[in-house]
Symmetry: C2
Subunit: 479 residues, 2 copies
């Protein structure tokens, strides 16, 4: 019984029994963990194996395991602590077994009926027709030579169109040569952290909380993520400087325009301090500009890149503005990092046809027309969401700039975010616990202890009332 | 004067003076190297700095430097030896300075007026209309959820369509789950070698000669390429086994169906021996299936992957059959490598729209119709090329299976391939010295010492006579 605690090399493939029904693998593994706990095969407090190890022993992909762990942590069934991995929570055995054991876990982002998950744009309004026109024109006009081996850095015309757009919309200071076309933010980040690692970097300062995927990419490239707390002024740059000095980290991944998930902007004095730090330590600031185009109260904050193009790399993509499925993004790099990335043989440009379509979409104003329409839609939807939340859950604090695709909803005393996420999922409402984006378990300075990240990017307007009602019922149920 | 020999940290940025004219950077750097030698600033026999170091000191991309080195080696102006880098050849100072110093170097593949460079399909016959139809249908029919965050391993429908096509056309033995959608062979190889490196591999057995790009990718991921000679039966598997035992390498990159560039097929007993070796050392055979669809005399040799799906990974793409600009390829992986690749966070799938178009193109027979037409075109073009070579350069040995997109042309006694390449480039005919694909300088067993790789993939039929005439004139000139 205590095997799981005493023997880390426990044969998990015998403890966790995957059902052979038609449910998705994620749902089957999640059920197997619950069953093992309820059946007493794994006692409360037991450490679960590292995701890699479990994935190997079960013959499933690591993604499946991290999804399940993330879900169980979000629900409070498991606990994650830095340095000690994921454990079965003390009260896990008391958690009810879900009524429909084969029911899928938290509906994946973009797939729930009532989607309040953050990080997805409105999939109903992907500009399919405009994109098809751009593809058609690109295919019709491309000279034969453009269909030969592509430049790994991107097509020159696309790089120029991106440089012009980013200067216009994000106040960047970069020429076409400084822009690389990528497959999106993950690809851009992966290429950048591989170059950082090759140049001797061993650690990367990251915001806590922050989007997990880019941290994972850094970790897979061999950079240790070093968490730095976030408060109402954005990332705590004094703490960042101290953490850098302590660990030797000289690169930092930040979200200056709109911190994810807290929704704050980096305070102006901290912008200066961050760039000064990068100069002083011969370091690099990586600016994740993930949803900067969506600001509803004023013009977006300029990119930090324009502040010091020699010290700031900007990572951007179409994922939050058009669709993550288009696989298109960009990097704006200081010259020496650009050369280092270009010198690597493992960078691959996206389809030239897609790149030529992107260049047209940017140059003929199609992208900005799409953004204007999306901004109006999201501004109205955000206002309607705030009204609905205020009516259904009066008095709960909502924070975050009038920007982006999500707000943070503080929960009343005594209501656990994990319990709300679980109760909401049972109503087919996808919503996220702020904890999902934490790096450490340290309390968030200033913020409510229990909070949800409520996304409205992919929420059908007609379903907004129903979604908020489901969420409010989940909060009441979890009280 | 001897500075370059005695001080490897020579300030190359002062020795090599880049012109500031409008010529491409590659041409300007190439000229700078020639000028430095002719002016006596760099004596014959001097080691050139590693490409990375020179790229950094000049502030250019490493690609520029490797292109220039490759070109100068191909011309015999420089020599490349494994373990001692690139050196100025003994007779370099006697090479004539090109008459037009600002003229571009060897025209890039796909860009020369008369393109006999290998590795490029017929860019005049990229199926633009069929691809646009597939894109249109994909955009019209994709459910909104398909436009959300993509599975890094690829869209399930595309993986299934690839598994079906590969089983049909290449006799692979793999289900949809065993197939990953990639951005092409380079991306597939990069993902695979990163996983190999993470699993503890330190070296990769490679064919000598072979395509350089995939070796570079392995090297950038931290795997040392270990060369194994190729003869008329393909890669020498006995030598491969010995090299593996000597170096500890347990992974091998091979081209069984049509060795590049020699054009031979791997002998049946060697296919067995190679797979047996992989089983015995718990290793992996990486099968680069680069142009297997193009065989003109019989059905293509089946993929080695079908021989032992647990030990062979297959790397494929549309690059040689449709266009390298489409950025689409695939990996077929043994289950444990599939899981390792899926567990990594740095793999990114191509655009879902492109993937859905590919699934349609494969499933509705469009791809196979395109291949049939291309096969007919290339078969006729190959026959015409052989006739023209025989008429213009009678008696020279042409080798390579009736397959693929290139032949190997042996040169007469006393004619240096490098000199022919140079003389052909002056006529705007792009052709490659076999030496360009060598890993070592050891003689090729059985093959002629001086030989050219003559590609016909991207040669306009109407220009075939003119191209061969230019080549024949270059051979006469170099005699």
């Amino acid at each position: 019984m205590a095997l799981a605690q005493t023997n880390p090399r426990l044969a998990w493939d015998t403890v966790l029994v995957l059902g052979d029904d038609d449910a998705p693998l994620v749902a089957r593994l999640e059920r197997a963990v619950r069953d093992a706990v309820h059946a007493g095969r794994v006692p409360a407090g037991s450490a679960l194996p590292p995701s890699r190890a479990l994935a190997e022993s079960l013959g499933v992909s690591r993604w499946v395991v991290t999804e399940v762990y993330g879900q169980l942590v979000a629900e409070g069934f498991c606990e994650a602590r830095v340095g000690s991995g994921t454990r079965i929570a003390a009260g896990a055995a008391a958690h009810a077994t879900p009524k429909h054991p084969a029911a899928p876990a938290l509906p994946a982002a973009g797939r729930a009926r009532l989607d309040l998950a953050p990080g997805v744009p409105d999939l109903r309004h992907v500009p399919r027709a405009a994109w098809l026109r751009a593809l058609r024109d690109a295919l019709a006009d491309a000279p034969d030579t453009d269909l030969g081996a592509p430049d790994p850095a991107g097509h020159p015309g696309t790089r120029a169109a991106l440089a012009a757009y980013l200067a216009r919309a994000r106040s960047t200071c970069a020429g076409a040569d400084d822009v690389l076309v990528t497959h999106g933010a993950t690809d851009g980040m992966a290429r950048l952290v591989r170059a950082l690692r090759a140049a001797g970097h061993r650690a990367l300062l990251v915001e806590d909380p922050s989007w997990g995927r880019l941290r994972d990419v850094a970790r897979d490239a061999g950079l240790v993520p070093v968490p730095v707390p976030v408060d109402a002024g954005g990332v705590d740059v004094a703490a960042l400087v101290a953490a850098g000095a302590r660990t030797g980290a000289r690169a930092a991944l930040v979200t200056p325009a709109h911190q994810f998930p807290t929704g704050v902007a980096l305070a102006p004095d901290r912008r200066d301090a961050l760039v000064s730090w990068a100069r002083a330590v011969d370091g690099l600031v990586v600016e994740d500009d993930y949803d900067a185009e969506f600001r509803y109260d004023r013009r977006p904050v300029a990119a930090l890149q324009g502040h010091d193009p020699g010290r700031v790399a900007l990572v951007g993509s179409l994922s939050k503005t058009v669709s993550p499925a288009f696989g298109l993004g960009w990097l704006v790099l200081p010259p020496r990092w650009r050369d280092r990335l270009e010198a690597r043989s493992d960078g691959v440009a996206p389809s030239t046809v897609d790149q030529l379509a992107l260049a047209r979409f940017l140059s003929d104003g199609g992208y900005e027309r799409h953004l204007r329409a999306a901004r109006g839609r999201f501004r109205r939807r955000r206002a309607a969401l705030l009204d609905a939340l205020d009516a259904a859950l009066p008095g709960l604090p909502v924070s975050g700039l009038a920007a982006g695709l999500h707000v943070v909803l503080g929960l009343p005393e005594g209501v656990a975010a994990a319990a709300v996420v679980r109760a909401a999922a049972a109503r087919d409402v996808a919503v996220a616990d702020v904890r999902r984006y934490r790096v450490t378990a340290a309390p968030l300075p200033g913020g409510p202890a229990e909070a949800l990240v409520v996304g409205y990017g992919n929420l059908a307007d007609a379903r907004l009332g129903e979604a908020v009602a489901g969420l409010a019922a989940a909060v009441r149920e979890a009280r």
